[in-house]
């Protein structure tokens, strides 16, 4: 039982409504894009097996509702996250400006043990739209923000065309894994012999 839990990496996707969170998740996991996604209500997740240095992990990717009004639900969904993906739409300045809010809200609600070093990854999505002509947030601007927040890795993606999605999630998984391992070092004394499936630390096989 502990081994099952220990190889699970939990990733949360956050960002404004309509920036393409569900699409990115589906493109990565199912290699599919649909124009007919519905606005996410509540939360959902997909899982994908990933391999790293001969070890197999289950990436659990959480997709959440984008409207700020649903943020109070975060407490339940963010807990135990190993990495947080912040998504904005390169064609919407507002969605970029909100990244900061999403980041802070996440840190408050998930309250990770080491907020300074908690791994985030930023994705600028919808680079395909209108051949890039309707773009309002430059890559430079985005990278500058990421740098200011402790060198957050940054990717420009198109969920519709699959551009950079695999690469981005490779990075996400890697960061999640790193975070998970660090957590084990930080909290070695929380090993629960009662084998609660909630526990995220302890044990060291694999």
């Amino acid at each position: 039982m502990p081994s099952r839990r220990r190889t699970l990496l939990k990733v949360i996707i956050l960002g404004d409504s309509g920036v393409g969170k569900t699409s990115l998740m589906n493109q990565y996991v199912n290699k599919k894009f649909s124009n007919q996604y519905k606005a996410t209500i509540g939360a959902d997740f997909l899982t994908k097996e990933v391999q790293f240095e001969d070890r197999l992990f289950t990436l659990q990717i959480w997709d959440t509702a984008g409207q700020e009004r649903f943020q109070s639900l975060g407490v339940a969904f963010y807990r135990g996250a190993d990495c947080c993906v912040l998504v904005y739409d390169v064609n919407s300045m507002k969605s970029f400006e909100n990244l900061n809010n999403w980041r802070e809200e996440f840190l408050i609600q998930a309250s990770p043990s080491d907020p300074e070093n908690f791994p985030f990854v930023v994705l600028g999505n919808k680079v395909d739209v209108d051949g890039g002509n309707s773009r309002v947030v430059s890559e430079k601007k985005a990278r500058a923000w990421c740098a200011s927040k402790g060198n957050i890795p940054y990717f420009e993606t198109s969920a519709k065309e699959g551009t950079n999605v695999e690469e981005a999630f490779q990075c996400i998984a890697k960061n999640a894994l790193k975070s998970g391992e660090e957590e084990e070092i930080y909290l070695p004394d929380t090993i629960d012999v009662a084998a609660s499936s909630q526990q995220r630390t302890g044990g060291c096989e694999c």
Binding site: K38, A39, L73, A76
Partner: protein
Amino acid sequence: MHEFDLHDLSDDADYADSMQQGSTSMTRSGNSNRNSSSEQVGAEIVYLKDNVAIHPTQHAWERIRGRLKLIKQGGSLLMTWIPYEGQSSSARLSEKDKSLYTIRAVPFSDIRSIRRHTPTLGWQYAIVVLSSGLAFPPLYFYNGGLKEFLATIKQHVFLVRSAEDANIFLVNDLQDPLQRTLSSLELPRAVSVANSPTSSIAPSESSFSRTDGEALDKNSAVIQQNGRQRQKHNDPRHLSIQVLEKFSLVTRFARETKSQFLREAHGDGFISNAMKKHDKKPNNYSSVVESNDVHKPLEDVYVPANSSEESSCEIHNKNEEAAMRDESLEYDYDKLSLVWGKPRQPPLGSKEWSTFLDSEGRVIDSQALRKRIFYGGVEKGLRKEVWRFLLGYHSYDSTCAEREYLASIRKSEYETIKNQWKSITKEQAKRFTKFRERKALIEKDVVRTDRSIPFYDGDDNSNVKCLRDILLTYSFYNFDLGYCQGMSDLLSPILYVMGDEPQSFWCFVALMERLGPNFNRDQNGVHSQLFALSKLVELLDNPLHNYFQQKDCLNYFFCFRWVLIQFKREFDFEKTMRLWEVLWTHYLSEHLHLYVCVAILRRHRSKIIGEEMDFDTLLKFINELSGHINLDATLRDAEALCICAGENGEACIPPGTPPSLPFEITSMYNQQDDDDIL
């Protein structure tokens, strides 16, 4: 008090009566005024208080003032509250509002409790809760008199202070001491049905009397059988206590007396369930075959496992369950499984619909109509007409002519509000961030709302544009609430059914009167429903509740989507509409949707528990049930659960929980646990 003086009290039949009599006693008045209190024979007013008001909105200045009376008639005590004729304190409150809130001669046998509020600041008020679980809006005693009100009641009916909250007074007007005791035990509704068939609240009251005699004959046989069966259990007495405690809002009175009635309670609970099954027989619903032959499986419930499978709504494996739970609990779950919701009927068609209308188009008996729709829904072509009533856009007692007139007024009102945003120029919009953001959010959502339905299919679909216009107009109509994701899901079927833009808008407005709190910024509306749901599961499936508790899942966030948009994403479009019209009847409960939640969870309980699902797995599992839920079976389960839970179920749901109309938002949320919250 000059406002009060302005009222022409001669219009008030009660007033006229009391003037005639020159005292507080009254006799039958000759006129047939519709205030039913004046039609009582040999009635005597034992309490009368003027200037008792209700506040239909959260604004204290929007109030309706009236006269509160207690009337003694025959052996029973009735309560009335009649608003004064004439002007209201606010033009927004129509005569319709007044008649909506009027309390016409409610017997105390229908009243379950009265909660007293005596805030240090502000007016004293009382909330009267009916046995059905519904509550009247708080009655504010502007001129005092609440204490006297309770004291008067106490003189005439059995009133006992709740052991749990000194401000709650439990009402019990039963004459028979046995019934009185049983009632105070707060046994499931099923028990009281058996005790007093005439006041049956089961949905099958009509057929009850026909089988009454026959059923009573059976009672003795059943009791004997029951006694025999009980010996199979180690300690039936112990079991019964458990059952009683589980279902009781324990009062001191109850504690003292319940043991002596255990036997009766036990037997009656059993019988009444059996009778429920029995009384289904005369209802000849064609399509579904009743496998439960009453004469055969009566004792099945007490026999472990397989033999009861055919007769019960439970699909889970009883052996498995029995292994998992306390033996004492098994007893009462088996009891639950005896009741099966009625077979679904075919939907209401135009021919039958016309029989519900009088010559001028009024709905003659809205209760009967709602009952009919509860059991079968409405035919496609008829929805456009019927939904307007169910949603509250039209009142049942309006005539065709009145409705036509209203529609024309509403149409122009809609255009007025719509023009408010239509007339915002591009230049203006540049400096109106809130508007731009709202519009952008709505536009993002309407293009991903039900696009697989032909009605909303294709590029530049005018219905999609219509969704946008209505939602944007609504966000101006209710600027404070604005737009929130999920609203497009709620509007989509309404527009599909109504077709017409203004009508859809007003129907949506009516729906949002009830569901608006779901979209509050603090998520209060949804949280209160999820809280009530957890209480209902605790009541109706304790092992499952314990399981959720153990897995730290009591926030029930995995049901968030169900509750927020009323299962819109769980069923296909057609089934969603069927479910909604059933929910909107508010026939058995305003909160049937919560029983639907319990029904679905119970259907999958063995899987949930068996696979030891944690929060994540559970959420995933629930999300993936979408498209795989059998609506009719779920509705039958929900109906059965609702009846089983009875008053105890309704007591799990704090007053004001959506979709109840939020008549007193601030105080309503406080009152359930006011000590804890304040």
